[in-house]
Structures are given as C-alpha cells and as structure tokens.
C-alpha cells in the first residue's frame, strides 16, 4: 500500500522531494520545554521546536473556546497556545498581545537581502527585484507563522485587505522595502488610533505611488492639468466612510422616499483631490526629482507648498477649509473631517468583524463595535485597541456558533486556511539553495501562493482587494440575503489547487522524512511539519481524530464526520512506523480538505 502511495506521488511529480535525509533543517534536537521569552529578548523568526504539552480532549469546553478564539485572533491555534489560554482570561490574553513588541518585517528583509548578497539600498539592478520580493514574501510568512505578536499581525493582515496596496501593479515595481515598511506601519497602528492610522496610510509613499498621490500637484492652467482624484476617491469610498450614509448599526440610512443617501459627490471628490496636492517623497530635495530609491520608500511623504492648492475647499458635511492653509494644515483638516464622519465606526467596524469573526454580523453587533469606535468609554474616538477588544469579546463572537449555528462564521480565505494548518503542526522552513551552491537558512517560501490560491500578501488584483465585503455567492447565500466575501475568490481552479497544497502539506512535509533543499529562485518551497504528537497516538484512530478535531476544528467536528474519519483510518493497520505515518497523513489531509475546516465558526 505504501509503495502504491509513493507510486502515486511519483506520478504526480512529487517523489523527488520525498527522498530521505539531506535536509539541513532536520535532526535539530528539541531543547525541551521553555517559558516564552521575555519581551526584551530580541525578536527572531524561529520555528517552534519545543515539545508540546498534552492537548485536552476535543469535548473540553474551555479548550474549545480557546481554540475558537485563537482561530479568530491569530493565524491559527497551536497546542501550546490553546493550553496556555485555558489558564487565562481572553481579556488578559488580548492585553498581553497588545504589549508584545512588534515583529518588524523591514529589519528582517534588509538582513535577508544582505544574506543573499545584495545591497538593500541599491535598487539600480532591476533583476534583483524578484529575489528581493521572494525575501519579502518569506519574511511575511515567517512573521505570521512564527511571530509572537499574533493578534497585531492578524489585525495588520485585516487592515491590509482594507487599505490595499498591491505589487501586482507596476506602480510598486522594485519597492520591496517600501511594501515591507507599509506592512510594519499597519501593524504599528493596529492598536493605535484610527485617525493616526489614516494619516500614516495617507502619507506612506507606497500608498502615494499606488493611488498616485505622490507628485500630485495643483491645477495649472498653462499645462491644462488639474489635481489627481485617485486617492481622494478611494480614501472615502474604501478606507473610511463608503458611498452611502450609514446608521450606527451599519444599515443604510434612507431618505423620505426610501432611497439611500450618497456620502459625497464629484464636487467633494474634487475638493479632496485639491487637499492632497503638493506631496512628494520624504527625501526629495526638489519637486521635480526622480531619483527616489530604497530610502525614499520608507519615509512619510513631505509637502512642497508651491505645488499645493491652498484655495478654500468645501469638504464633507459642508465643512470648509479656509484659503491660505499650508499643505499640512489642509491634510490634517481633511483627515479630521473624514475621521469624524459618523460612517467610519460602522463602515470600518463591520469590515474588521468580517475579517476576524463572521461575514454576516447582526446589526446589533455592528452597532456595539461602532459605538466603541465612537467612544472607547473615556471619550476617545477611533481607539483601535478598544475596537479590536469589542469585536473579539462580543457575545456574538463568543456564542454565534451556537446561537446562529447555520450561518455564523466565515469562509477561511486560503492564506488563513494554510497558516492554520501549518501552525497547528509547528511548521519549519526548508533551506533554499542558489545556483552557486549557496544555501540560505530555512525559509518558508510561498510567493507562488497567488497561482494556487488567488492570494498573495500585498498582491491583490486591485484596490478592491481579493474579494469585496458585500460579495454574495449566487444560490442559497444570495437568496437567503447573506454575503460571503471570501467566496468571491473560491473559483474552481483555486479550490482545487489550494486543496492540492493541503495534500502536499500532509504527504510530503513530514519532519521525520524531510524534503530536500529547494531552488532559491523558485517561488514555492517545500515545508516541514511536525507530526510527532499525532504519530504517538495514531494507533488509536479515535484519539487521532479527536486531537485533530480540537486543533483544526475547535472541537466542532460533527459526529458523522468523526465516524467517517475513524472508519477510514481503521482501514490502515497501524503495524509499522510507515503505516502509522500514513494514518496521520490521511487524517490530516482529509480533515484539512473537509468542508468543515473550510469555514471558521
């Protein structure tokens, strides 16, 4: 049977990766249990190699709640974190996360670029861009898989799907440092104030390039040019208030004829376009300067008053910016104007709920979160830490899976599905070898995720992200009046290729039979997963399934699914180490590819 299995793998071109030995990442002795490092220890991106504690049974209510919560608040529960959280309150866990130092991707990226022999500050050779992007991708994956600041990174990921920039567009060509820094900026403001986040996004040169605010100048009659409207429009439509006026609970406000009410018109867009004139790279010596480089990408933009339209401008709700203001004053006034629009709380609050917890929050849930956005209890508007707490601790987040058992939750987007699986089994990278024989240390390389899953960090098709918050899949979802954002990306080709990535994760990623080094220029490397805990119990099929139930499904596996899996596994006699391993691979693949694992509940 094993031989047959490997024959199949060979037929689909995988067997070469299965050859034993050779892997540089194997054989590292486990150092034994350790306490989490204190905060002052330098942040590293290292896999978890310590033995796991005993995982409770899947029917343990505290364990279930911990696993469910971690599915919403992190890139996937691990045995250690489930067990640790069972001894804490959710509030304490959130507080702890919010004080952890931030994993900064730019620092790691610069180090890695040097490691592969390039200078991060020299961007003259365009051929270096692709290998640099591979490094940036590795750092993103390793941050979300290994980083301790899970909640911050998960919120940053959510923000990256609202404040979208994308290297898929040529406008961000050769900007790896800038994109890594943009991520760090989102993560830095994840628990800050939304007004500051808006300003940081607005002045980030990557957003400046992506939505063409950099070099945007005031109207010039001689050249017949007028201000660029791109950023002005998307800032309002996508990043803050949306197209129509909302009630605090996220439902549309209606006029007397039951029509929705637009939040702005073209004249207001033109006024904001004039606000956002005069901004240029932070290290630009003059306005007409085209030598921006690796340093420019990470500095906030700065203003050149001569190119700013300082005329009077009428913004939202007829608020007027007086003539004669500096670019900085206009920008501050305009961002205040948007930030104080009553739409922001429900508009942003609902999207964050959708990214973290559930696609179809009740209007009451939205209203509760929006109210916290409006006032954190101490009179502060836009306190993101309070908003995140409100979202995760809300009664609907905690009890929706039982109170709305047929609709609560969300389809896992592919990136989150894969991180959940990989974190559960303590993923490690695999060394990457280049043409000259130089071997980089272990890397988690999945820049090719776009091809397989339709997703890549900072690689959305457009500013409208991989999916829209109001997408509704034709069929029962639409006819029931529900939205299903992540289904927009669940095409036939992506569901198949993503399911195949799950298959490879289960069958050719075993740490005990490590995959070989991979070609450093290829965009998708093998990974190593630690199935030792599962192998130790796999002789008992029920115990194995029970473990996966808690670790992957938060204890929500149906009895029918459990019985089906156990029956399947019992066809494989646990008579040898190889057969035990096959049991584990089968169990992991069939659980991970199941419809139950596809949905976060």
């Amino acid at each position: 049977m094993i031989a047959r299995l490997f024959l199949i793998l060979a037929l689909i071109g995988l067997i070469s990766a299965c050859g034993g030995g050779g892997g540089g990442g194997s054989g590292t002795p486990d150092p034994g249990p350790t306490d989490p490092p204190p905060a002052h220890i330098p942040i590293v991106l290292e896999p978890d190699t310590a033995p796991d504690p005993v995982l409770p049974a899947a029917d343990d209510a505290d364990a279930q709640e911990a696993a469910r919560f971690l599915t919403q608040a992190t890139f996937g529960p691990t045995t250690k974190e489930i067990v640790r959280l069972m001894d804490m309150t959710l509030e304490d866990w959130i507080d702890e996360q919010m004080t952890l130092p931030q994993t900064r991707q730019l620092t790691f990226l610069d180090d890695r670029i040097r490691e592969i022999g390039f200078d991060p500050f020299n961007e003259e050779d365009f051929d270096e861009f692709y290998p640099k992007e591979l490094q940036r991708s590795d750092v993103w994956w390793e941050t979300v898989l290994f980083g301790r600041d899970q909640l911050r990174q998960r919120v940053a990921f959510a923000l990256s799907e609202i404040f979208v920039i994308s290297t898929l567009s040529d406008t961000l060509f050769n900007d790896s440092r800038g994109v890594a820094n943009y991520h760090d900026m989102l993560a830095e403001h994840a628990f800050g104030n939304f007004r500051e986040l808006l300003e940081a996004v607005t002045l980030n040169p990557m957003m400046g390039e992506y939505l063409s605010m950099v070099r945007n100048e005031k109207a010039d009659a001689v050249r017949n040019i007028r201000p660029d409207e791109n950023y002005a429009r998307e800032l309002m439509q996508l990043f803050s208030i949306g197209l129509i006026e909302l009630n605090n609970d996220g439902t549309p406000r209606l006029d007397q004829e039951s029509n929705t009410i637009p939040t702005y018109d073209q004249e207001i867009i033109k006024a904001f376009a004039r606000v956002f004139t005069g901004w240029m790279y932070g290290d630009a010596p003059t306005w007409y300067w085209f030598d921006e480089g690796a340093a420019s990408e990470v500095l906030p933009m700065k203003a050149f008053a001569d190119f700013h339209d300082n005329g009077e401008k009428t913004l939202l709700n007829n608020q007027v910016l007086p003539a004669g203001q500096t670019p900085e004053q206009d920008l501050a006034g305009a961002l205040d104007n948007i930030f104080n629009h009553p739409n922001v709380g429900p508009f942003i609050g609902k999207q964050l709920i959708q990214r973290l917890v559930t696609s179809n929050p009740s209007s009451d849930y939205v209203a509760r979160v929006a109210s916290v956005f409006n006032d954190n209890g101490s009179g502060e508007r836009g306190d993101m830490a309070a908003v995140i707490r409100a979202i995760l601790l809300d009664t609907e987040a905690r009890h929706g899976h039982t109170e709305q058992s047929d609709t609560f939750g969300k389809l896992k987007e592919p990136l989150l599905k894969l991180t959940a699986l990989w974190r559960a089994f303590r993923i490690r990278g695999v060394p990457a070898e280049d043409e000259d024989g130089f071997v980089s240390p272990s890397r988690v390389r999945y820049f090719g995720s776009f091809r397989e899953t339709g997703q890549r960090p900072y690689g959305a098709p457009s500013v409208f992200n991989f999916f829209r918050p109001d997408f509704s899949q034709t069929g029962p979802i639409t006819s029931g009046g529900y939205v299903s954002p992540e289904f927009q990306n669940l095409t036939e080709n992506y569901i198949t290729a993503t399911t195949n990535r799950l298959f490879l994760s289960a069958y050719i990623s075993d740490l005990d039979n490590p995959p070989d080094n991979f070609d450093a220029l290829w965009d998708t490397g093998p990974i190593q997963l630690n199935f030792s805990e599962e192998k130790a119990i796999a002789a008992d099929a029920t115990a194995l399934v029970d473990r996966l139930n808690l670790l992957l499904l938060g204890g929500q596996m149906s009895a029918a699914m459990e019985n089906t899996l156990v029956a399947h596994l019992e066809n494989i006699p646990p008579d040898s180490a190889e057969l035990i391993a096959v049991r584990v691979y089968e169990a992991v693949y069939l659980t991970a590819s199941s419809p139950a694992f596809a949905v976060q509940r």
């Binding site: 017949n224 609709t407 034709t474 529900y482 095409t491 195949n500 419809p595």
Partner: protein, 463 residues
C-alpha cells in the same frame, strides 16, 4: 464517449434532416426518428450551430481617447490642445479608412498595428463613445440633474457592476448570465456552465441559474490523490471518504456551499481536462509573457474542444487589469495597448486556424472612459469611451456611433473632459445578444433600459 455525445450526434442529424428534401416525404421511419428527437428536446428548435462571445474587460477604465484618435488637422488640433502632454503624436497615428466618413480622419495608437490590420481587413469595428446610461443625457440634463443616471458614476466597482449587469438596483444579474438563462437549452452538456471565466468571479456572469466555470491559462488542475478509478486501494478509499465528507455536513450555509463548489470543481475539472487533452493546442503563437494572451489562448483551446464538451453557445470572460492610469500614463498605457493589440490579433489567428472566426465575436468593455484633461501625468475616471468588436461576423472597417467633440467645455463635456456617452451600453450589448441568438422580445426583456434609446441594433453585427 461523452454522455451527451450521442444526443449531440442526433441533434446534428436533425439539422441535416431539416435541410433534406427527404423530410418532406414524411415517411414513417423519419417520423419516428423525429418523435424520438422531440422526446430528447421538447423545447423550441434546438440550437445546433456554434457561437461564442468573448468579453475582454479592460479593468480600471481604458483611456480610449488615446486608442482611437482624430488624425485630420483641425480635429487633431482640438484633441492635442485638450490633452497636451498626453497627446499621441499626430504623425505616429496609424491611419484607418472606415467605410463611411464623418468628415474627419482617424488613426490608432502607434502600438496597435495588429488592430489596424484587422480593421482594414474588415474584421474589426469601433464603437464610438459608448458608456453607462439609463436614458440619453445632454449636458444640460446632467447639470440640472434632470434625468436618472446609473448609480455612482466614476466609481470603479459600481461602474464595472453596471456595465456588466446593465441594472441600477441590486441584486444584480449580469447580462451574460441572463443570456445564459434564456439559452440554457442550447447546450447538450447541461453540467458545464455556458459562462466560462478566465479571471475569476465577475458580475457579467453572476446572479443567474448557474455559476460561471472558472479556469486559468494553465488549464484545469486535478486533485492529487483523489480518483475513484485509481488502481491503488488506499486512493480509492481516500476518494470515498473525501466524497463522504463533502456530503455529510450540510447544516451550515457556507459549509454546504463550499461542498458544492468542491464537487463541481472536481466533476467539471475532470471532464474539461479530458476534453482539452483530445485537441491539440493552436499553432498560432501567443506571447507567453502576457496574461491576456495566455488567457485568450486557453479560450481558443476551450473553443477547439466545443464539440467534445457538448457546447453550442459559450460566453467567455477575460479581464485584464492596470488600465487605471492615474499616473505614469505615457509609459504604462502604450504597453497595455500593445499587449491588447498583439493578444487580440493572435486570438483571431487562432480562431481562423480553428475555422470559427465567423462564429466567435470578441468585444471590449471597460469601467468607463477617462478624463480628457491630465492630472499631470495621467487621467482620472471619466464616462464614455470607445470600444472595439472583432470577428468574422462583424461588419468591420467602420466606426459606429458618434465621435465626441474633444474640446474642453463642449456639449459632450460635463467637466474636466468627462465625456457624456452618446451610445448606451444597453445598445451595444443588445446588438451582440441578437447575433448570439436572442429574439427581439428576449433582447427587450433582458435589457431594461433599451427602450429609452432610438435603436436596439447598432448594425455592427452581420448574421
């Protein structure tokens, strides 16, 4: 043999019989054959020929005013004084010679020589200044807010939604989806959707009885390790369990829907994979570096496999991004137009190779046109714009509709050179739909704004 193959053979036979003098003899044997056929398809006369529409959607809003440009001096000068630094050099424009003239000469962007050839050879037409309208709009109508307008003009996703659905109110159903619902019996194969998308979910094909089928330029992936016909016993068992797991948990809306998508992907994937294997790739070279070209090549391969797949009517969606040229337009837009020209030309050659160039019509659409005025190094969201239609059935070498006045402040301009469309997307779509096989009444039913315009057939399609 495909389960629908025998039925398809019968239908073809019926087409033969219909044209045969023997049929008038009314012999009992033929009557019984026909009786059997009517059991097979009790609906109206079955569709037996092949036709396909290919929508190439230029995502972001194409600056079509730099694609099709006036060349005669007076009109060019107006264009140049409006566009200034963005203007294409007059001498560089590729001349075209439409069948009829509005008094001006026109040319194409210098990066589009292939489109020039297709036009001059009569296989391509332009549609001038078409866009999103609910009813005709004049400048004063717009200024006085006296006529209804499509929702959220100038917003990308709203205008994509409108152009693809031609509906002002949600829930939206795309007009390809509506055509597919009406012609659902045309395809012997009822499992595979009439709508195929190369670039994922889109409003044009959404909202109807069947979801579009999505594939990529690389073809159809098959699941690893899942195959009930595999000789390996464990694989058989795994496949059985995999299938069981797709069916046992159906107490949650999203879980059930996920199962449906996985099941459909697996069933159709195997069918399409097999069909594609049976037909060689076209010899026509396609630029492997271009996503658009690669996607169009796969469309050609799907068309090559049409009989194997049992498809008589197909609607293909191919999106191509980055047309939102707010910045660096002088560098970016020519590259986009070059890719468009080369890819469409390769696609047309492949269709000729397959002998179906008269049965496949390719057309462009976009979010909107762009402002005539510049923001310094690019253009912003506009309204009307030109589109192109390509195919052997197109009454080519012609510009349909009315070219707009490109002077700032003209009656076509609502400000900053945002041009009011003079032909509606509904008229454009209706003309294509009629060629595709919809009756006049069906066309009237599915394009609800059509009655507000002077004609429902722009005349650019032959039969």
């Amino acid at each position: 043999m495909h389960p629908n193959k025998s039925r398809r053979a019968l239908l073809s036979r019926r087409a033969f019989l219909k044209n045969s003098a023997l049929l008038t003899l009314g012999s009992s044997s033929f009557s019984s054959v026909l009786g059997g056929l009517q059991m097979v398809n009790a609906q109206s006369l079955p569709v037996t020929d092949y036709k396909a529409l290919v929508c190439v959607f230029l995502l972001g809003g194409n600056d079509a005013f730099n694609m099709l440009v006036p060349r005669s001096t007076s009109e060019y000068n107006t264009y140049a004084s409006t566009r200034l630094s963005l203007a294409v050099d007059q001498a560089a424009l590729l001349p075209i010679n439409p069948q009829t003239s509005d008094g001006a000469d026109y040319g194409l962007h210098p990066e589009m020589p292939e489109i020039q050839s297709l036009f001059e050879n009569g296989n391509l037409a332009f549609l001038a200044n078409v866009g999103a309208l609910l009813e005709p709009v004049s400048r004063s109508d717009f200024q006085n807010n006296s006529v209804p307008l499509p929702p959220q003009l100038f917003s990308h996703n709203d205008q994509q939604d409108f152009v693809m659905s031609l509906q002002a109110n949600k829930p939206l159903q795309g007009w390809a989806s509506r055509m597919a619902d009406l012609l659902v019996s045309a395809n012997p194969n009822q499992n595979l959707s009439m709508n195929i998308t190369m670039t994922g979910a889109n409003t044009w094909q959404a909202g109807g009885m069947s979801l579009p089928y999505s594939l990529t330029a690389e073809g159809v992936p098959l699941l690893f390790g899942i195959d009930e016909n595999d000789p390996d016993f464990l694989t058989q068992l795994r496949t059985q369990t995999f299938n069981q797991l797709l069916n046992i948990d159906n107490d949650h809306l999203f879980v059930t829907e996920y199962s449906r998508v996985q099941t459909r992907a697996r069933t159709l994937g195997a069918e399409i994979f097999t069909a594609l294997e049976q037909h060689p790739e076209p010899n026509t070279p396609f630029d492997a570096q271009s996503r658009l070209a690669a996607n169009l090549k796969m469309v050609a391969r799907m068309i090559a496999a049409r009989d194997t797949l049992g498809m008589n009517r197909q609607l293909f969606f191919v999106g191509i991004g980055d047309y939102d040229t707010h910045g660096d337009q002088l560098n970016r837009h020519p590259q986009l137009l070059r890719e468009l020209s080369q890819s469409l030309s390769a696609f047309y050659s492949a269709l000729q190779e397959l002998g179906v160039e008269n049965q496949v019509t390719t057309f462009t659409a976009s979010d909107f046109g762009r402002t005539l005025t510049s923001n310094g190094d690019g253009t912003d969201h506009g309204w009307g714009g030109h589109q192109l239609v390509m195919g052997g059935a197109v009454n080519g070498r012609e510009i349909y509709g009315t070219m707009p006045d490109l002077a700032i402040g003209s009656n076509d301009d609502i400000g900053e050179g945002r041009i009011i469309p003079t032909t509606a997307m509904d008229q454009y779509a209706a003309t294509l739909a009629r060629w595709y096989g919809l009756s006049s009444s069906e066309v009237g039913d599915i394009f609800v704004n059509l009655g507000n315009f002077d004609t429902d057939d722009l005349g650019f399609m032959g039969v």
